[in-house]
């Protein structure tokens, strides 16, 4: 009697997936996104799918959401007026950043914005040293003066960030108390939001979190209210950058953790497929119109990181390691001054998009090249008369690409696709090599609107052995929303000296308690929470550390030792050597709690009708046009095989199978291509 719903908001469309647990079936729908008030689109989507499947709201037992509201806040610099109180002489740490400029050979480039105006950044005497001891007492009169100055200036909220507050938060807490005493301003302490070392990272993380929080809190409030109004009696879960879900209260307090909400859902879905298809290592390629998000599954688990970047600003929250590459169907092909063919980095994006969309695009794109090659069906984009847009695409391609290169229209288009594939392969290669891995060890899981069209050729380019195109690749990320576990993380700097298992145990206990409290607040039983522990460790004197997991369900001295052993091993794997005799130091302790979400095991549904819809002339390298069957993917049953060349169509996505390659539908309905 129950259904589970995932709602994935994108810039243009909101994808909704409903899993009917009893019928063991998945339903999909799409509705336009409604910027800037994205909550309306989310609620519309929920209404629409309930109506289409004739489901009463009372049957919804799980609701999960991937959002771009936090992402947009950071990308578009919708930063509210904030104040900052920090140490005397250091108020510009936030503005100086790491002192680099974003581009090497561009005199017109700009640094990321400082986020807090200098006039609202105030330093006060008071200093704590690297052992957490007080060097200079906090000057409370100076604090009071700073607080009243900020109150008068009309800032929305105040950030307090002082040196070594992750070791000793006395000064920060005292400043907080004085803010509360003197004003009714809200405030955030860096030691509470992100108690880790490196003052710039801690400060900017606290500032960004507060900025996003101010932006998202009304959004989540409206969503909560809308859901309650509909008679849906379960709380809304929000996908966070770490590939887990949490409640809207948590999503508000830790707002910065929602900035990779959408891409993380795709990564979770990719991991799920890699498990069911038994792929040891996989690269997830989620390619849309403007860009591609690349995630990595190693040994069956998502590769995670504790630091990312968005808009040149560091994001220091636990996250799924996702690389965004500026290449997609909308990437523009052009001829440079020396007569060379180039693709990107400029993109026609979704609006106006490629020429063949007929929405006013005038520059030739990768999608237009695919159209010229017969690889996509123009009716996929347009209703009604599409002839003019297709003619336009061919005309522009001829004039701007084929003629200057002295090639036929098709040869020119083929070259554009080859170049786009070679660029993508180079990016994927870099991602694996940086992890000390050979790209040949990975399988490619391709999804999103444009991924499955290019996947086979990209994988061949990289000497990969297999490609998987999952079920419903166009709305694959929304499926990830149904699969994600509830996950919350806590971390703090280690305050002890050396490798003291007992001290580490005490500090881990404190972290775990606070983590468990968060789960209990959300209505979970403490027993259902699986807690894992990690250490950030380095050789004394090194500047950056590695994160290693501690084995076992509980903290013991033996598990602690095993974690340190893993550090040596991992150091060897990544850097080529380990130094077991050198002193090791712990920088940060991390705990993660997860509560498992039920699996989605929907039957592979097959629709009736003709498998081969029609035949079309499709252009392939070294062969020219080949008569190619266009297959309705939804008619393919488990175990069915398709010989290339073939085009597979399904709602929202087209896949291409090159000649001499065979694909098979796996028992889970995914298309497996062995190369």
């Amino acid at each position: 009697m129950s259904v589970r719903i995932g709602v994935d908001t994108g810039g243009t469309f909101t994808d909704v997936v409903l899993y009917d647990v009893d019928a063991n079936e998945v339903y999909i729908t799409k509705t336009p996104s409604t910027p800037p008030d994205f909550d309306r689109g989310v609620l519309n989507g929920i209404d629409k799918i309930l109506e289409e499947t004739d489901t009463s709201p009372g049957r919804v037992e799980f609701l999960s959401h991937g959002t771009t509201v936090g992402t947009n806040a950071v990308l578009e610099n919708e930063i509210p007026d904030l104040g900052l109180i920090t140490n005397e002489g250091l108020r510009d740490v936030l503005e100086i950043g790491d002192q680099t400029r974003p581009e090497l050979y561009n005199l017109q480039a700009d640094k990321p914005p400082a986020l807090v105006d200098r006039r609202h950044r105030l330093g006060v005497p008071g200093r704590i040293d690297s052992k957490g001891d007080v060097v200079d007492e906090l000057d409370e009169d100076a604090v009071r003066a700073a607080v009243s100055e900020l109150a008068e200036s009309g800032v929305d909220s105040v950030i307090v960030s002082m040196l070594f507050s992750y070791l000793n938060d006395d000064h920060e807490r005292r400043v907080g108390e004085l803010i509360a005493e003197e004003t009714d301003l809200s405030y955030a302490l860096s030691s509470a939001v992100y108690p880790e070392t490196r003052e710039y990272d801690r400060t900017v993380t606290t500032v960004l979190n507060e900025a996003v929080k101010v932006t998202v809190q009304d959004y989540f409030r409206r969503l909560d209210a809308g859901i309650a109004e509909r008679g849906i009696d379960v709380p809304l879960n929000v996908m966070h950058s770490g590939g887990g879900i949490f409640g809207t209260d948590q999503a508000t307090d830790f707002a910065l953790r929602t900035v990779l909400s959408g891409p993380a859902a795709g990564a979770v879905a990719c991991r799920d497929v890699s498990r069911t298809e038994e792929l040891e290592h996989a690269i997830g390629l989620d390619m849309g119109g403007t860009s591609a998000d690349v995630s990595v599954v190693e040994d069956g688990d998502l590769v995670r990181s504790t630091e990312g970047e968005i808009n040149d600003l560091p994001i220091n929250t636990p996250l799924v390691d996702i690389n965004t590459v500026g290449a997609g169907g909308g990437s523009i092909a052009w001829i440079d001054a020396a007569g060379g063919l180039r693709v990107g980095p400029k993109s026609a994006g979704a609006d106006p998009g490629p020429i063949c969309y007929g929405r006013g695009g005038t520059e030739p794109t990768v999608t237009d090249a695919n159209l010229v090659l017969g690889r996509i069906d123009p009716s996929a984009f347009l209703d009604g008369d599409m002839r003019p847009a297709i003619e336009k695409a061919r005309e522009v391609f001829g004039e701007e690409i084929a003629e200057p290169l002295g090639l036929s229209l098709e040869e020119a288009a083929m070259n554009v696709v080859k170049v786009a594939n070679a660029k993508m392969a180079r990016e994927l290669r870099r991602v694996t090599v940086e992890r000390g891995r050979d790209p040949g060890e990975f399988s490619l899981v391709a999804f999103g609107g444009a991924g499955p069209l290019q996947a086979a050729e990209v994988a061949e380019n990289m000497d990969m052995d297999s490609v998987v195109i999952p079920r419903s690749p166009g709305v694959f990320s929304a499926r990830g929303l149904l699969l994600a576990d509830v996950r919350m993380d806590e971390s703090r700097a280690y305050t002890g000296d050396g490798l003291d298992a007992q001290r580490a145990g005490v500090e881990f206990d404190a972290l775990e308690d606070s983590l468990t409290d968060r789960f209990i607040e959300q209505g979970f039983d403490a027993e259902d929470v699986l807690v894992t522990r990690q250490l950030d460790v380095r050789y004394a004197g090194q500047a950056y550390e590695l994160t290693v997991p501690l084995p076992g369900e509980t903290f013991t001295a033996a598990n602690f030792e095993a974690g340190i052993e893993r550090f040596h091993d991992q150091h060897r794997q990544l850097y080529g050597y380990a130094m077991r005799d050198e002193p090791v130091e712990i920088v940060t302790l991390r705990v993660a709690g997860t509560v498992e979400t039920l699996p989605v095991e929907d039957e592979v549904s097959v629709t009736g009708g003709e498998q081969v819809r029609r035949e079309r002339e499709v252009y392939f390298a070294d062969r020219g046009f080949v008569t190619t069957p266009v297959i309705d993917r939804q008619t393919l049953a488990v175990g069915a095989t398709v010989d290339g060349p073939a085009i597979l169509e399904e709602p929202g996505c087209t896949s291409l199978l090159p000649p001499e390659i065979t694909a098979e539908v796996s028992s889970d309905g995914n298309l497996r291509i062995d190369l």
Partner: protein, 581 residues
């Protein structure tokens, strides 16, 4: 006729070879300088010693490998076996300064040399009398560290332990250095694997055809880009502080001649070589200049033999950009840094919309050391400090950034204070350090270090205390660099830009970097922007009034008084010659 699509794919494949080399080097290196600050590069050469690909992450390395490999390999190539490697850092054989050590490996496929992999990495120590490789008192190359003239140190992809241990015995923190040398070897080995694969896939003949085509294609692109610049002879010059031995300013002259699709970079007129370490090799002069020229001709041009063809560099012998044998070069990077500023100055009239005013224009090498009172161990540290960027036609200069060929990051204060016995007392923008302008220059940075409870040695090997970063098109000059001991106290002392100072316990050393020059007449700056800078305490009310002619009362622009004040300043300027603060 090569298929353009296939050629572009070949270009990407070739680029991924050097990128993989670069990533391998960075991942396996031990020093922060390589791992975090990415002070390294990798390149590939073909069997004819043509430069065919470069991993482009640190602009200062653009000219180094390309000047060393073709010049020296012919001497060795008859004796080279698979798996061999040669170490070299000799500035007088085409290299740069001693800490940049290069490893060159021949690449074999089917028993034939198909090319060479080379990489260069900045080692934090290379021996010599001063830790960190920046002695400011040496009058010969010998004082600056270990000179490696081209040593056959690797056989069968392993270091000859005799030779490596000889090098390591001569440098500080030898264990870390060993890791860095190993990393350099690993990078070349990956280069061989990947480059051999390219040959397997395409066949040797095709590779050669592709390479010919690629280099010609690159040349065509670079020529087309140079062609875009208006023809002409563009000259600029500036004074540098003395060399640390002789306290007299020395002149740096740069003339860029654009003639159709070719460009000459000519340092004729530059001062004679210095006795102290203010000299650079031609490779350094080229790299520093080219890093900025790149911004004028297109940022994503491939770096290979074809790239260099349209350029001629003239560095007269016996000048400080081409010193005679064994002159010291440790502070040499200050020269190409300033040459970068001269590129923007020389091209200002030709391409006003592209150029910028002068930047901080100094590398700012700072090193300090002593005995840590917390544990009695000796310590040494090296860092560089950001400064102002030049004003631009439509944008202000950035505050507090690295400039031109330099883009290395800072150390977090918490890392520094944990590691060293110092307190960073100030790390802030310097009010009024910018050159005023319609678009103002960026602000310089002040970094005050307090060395508590111990005596410390504090070394500077830098510049620009005399020549102010200039403004362009009526923009004003910025504040130059300044260095102090105990600033703002009774025993305040000015430190020279090339000096070593013994600090007493609890002394403060203050590094104050220059701002950037302004672009356009400051009297044309929008009063609202001046007000913002005053409210942000980036510009003082006094300076707003004196240089921008903007009168600010009670946190607001007094419009009427501003119109009056601006007229007054215009009248004064008309009465005198072009005032340039």
């Amino acid at each position: 006729m090569v298929d353009t699509g296939d050629l572009e794919i070949f270009r990407h494949s070739l680029k991924s070879v050097v990128e993989e080399m670069g990533v391998t080097l960075q991942r396996t290196a031990y020093s922060t300088n390589i791992k975090i600050r990415r002070d390294h590069t990798c390149a590939l050469f073909d069997a004819d010693l043509r430069h065919i690909a470069q991993h482009d992450i640190a602009p200062q390395h653009i000219g180094s490998l390309v000047s060393v490999v073709p010049r020296n390999v012919p001497e060795w190539e008859d004796d080279l076996e698979p798996g061999d490697g040669i170490l070299i850092n000799d500035p007088y054989k085409g290299a740069v300064h001693l800490p940049d050590v290069m490893l060159i490996s021949p690449l074999f496929h089917d028993d034939e040399i198909i090319g060479y992999a080379a990489n260069s990495a900045h080692h934090v120590d290379i021996g010599g009398g001063t830790p960190g490789g920046i002695p400011n008192d040496s009058t010969e190359l010998y004082g600056e560290g270990l000179i490696i003239p081209g040593v056959h140190a690797v056989e069968d992809w392993e270091y000859d332990e005799d030779k490596l241990s000889f090098i390591l015995r001569n440098v500080r923190e030898s264990k870390m250095r060993r890791g860095d040398y190993q990393a350099q070897l690993g990078a070349n080995r990956i280069g061989e694997q990947r480059f051999a694969e390219l040959h397997e896939e395409n066949g040797r003949e095709n590779v050669e055809t592709y390479l010919d085509e690629l280099l010609d294609y690159t040349e065509r692109r670079v020529r087309a880009a140079v062609e875009e610049l208006p023809d002409g002879e563009y000259s600029a010059s500036d004074e540098m502080d003395g060399d640390g031995i002789v306290d007299e300013p020395v002149t740096l002259v740069l003339t860029l001649t654009v003639d159709g699709d070719e460009m000459t970079i000519d340092f004729t007129g530059t001062a004679a070589e210095n006795e102290g370490p203010l000299n650079c090799t031609p490779a350094m002069a080229f790299a520093g200049t080219m890093a900025v020229i790149m911004a004028f001709i297109g940022e994503d041009l491939p770096k290979n033999d074809g790239f260099y063809r349209p350029f001629e560099t003239i560095t007269p012998e016996g000048t400080m950009v081409n010193p005679s044998y064994n002159r010291p070069v440790a502070g040499g990077w200050e020269i190409p840094m300033r040459a970068g500023d001269l590129v923007t100055k020389a091209l200002a009239d030709a391409v006003p919309e592209q150029t910028i005013a002068a930047t901080k224009g100094m590398v700012c090498n700072v090193a300090y050391g002593g005995t840590d009172p917390r544990d009695g161990d000796d310590y040494v540290y090296y860092e560089t400090v950001a400064g102002g960027y030049g004003g631009r036609m439509e944008k202000d200069g950035m505050d507090a950034v690295q400039t031109h060929f330099q883009n290395t990051a800072n150390s977090p204060i918490e890392e520094l204070e944990d590691e060293l016995p110092v307190y960073v007392r100030r790390y802030e923008l310097i009010q009024d350090s910018e050159g005023a302008g319609r678009q103002r220059g960026g602000l310089g940075v002040r970094r005050d270090l307090q060395f508590y409870d111990h005596e410390a040695s504090f070394s500077l090997l830098t510049d620009r205390t005399r020549s102010k970063p200039w403004g362009v098109f009526g923009g004003h000059a910025a504040r130059p660099s300044r260095f102090y001991r105990n600033p703002g106290t009774a025993d305040e002392a000015v430190l020279a830009s090339k000096s070593t100072t013994k600090l007493a316990a609890d002394d403060v050393a203050s590094v104050q970097t220059p701002g950037g020059g302004g672009y356009g007449d400051p009297l044309e700056r929008a009063p609202g922007d001046v007000l913002d800078d005053v409210l942000d305490e980036k510009v003082s009310r006094e300076k707003a009034r004196e240089e921008y002619g903007v009168v600010i009362e009670d946190g607001r622009v007094d419009e009427e008084a501003t119109v009056e004040r601006r007229q007054e300043l215009r009248d004064t300027a008309a009465g005198t010659t072009g005032e340039n603060a």
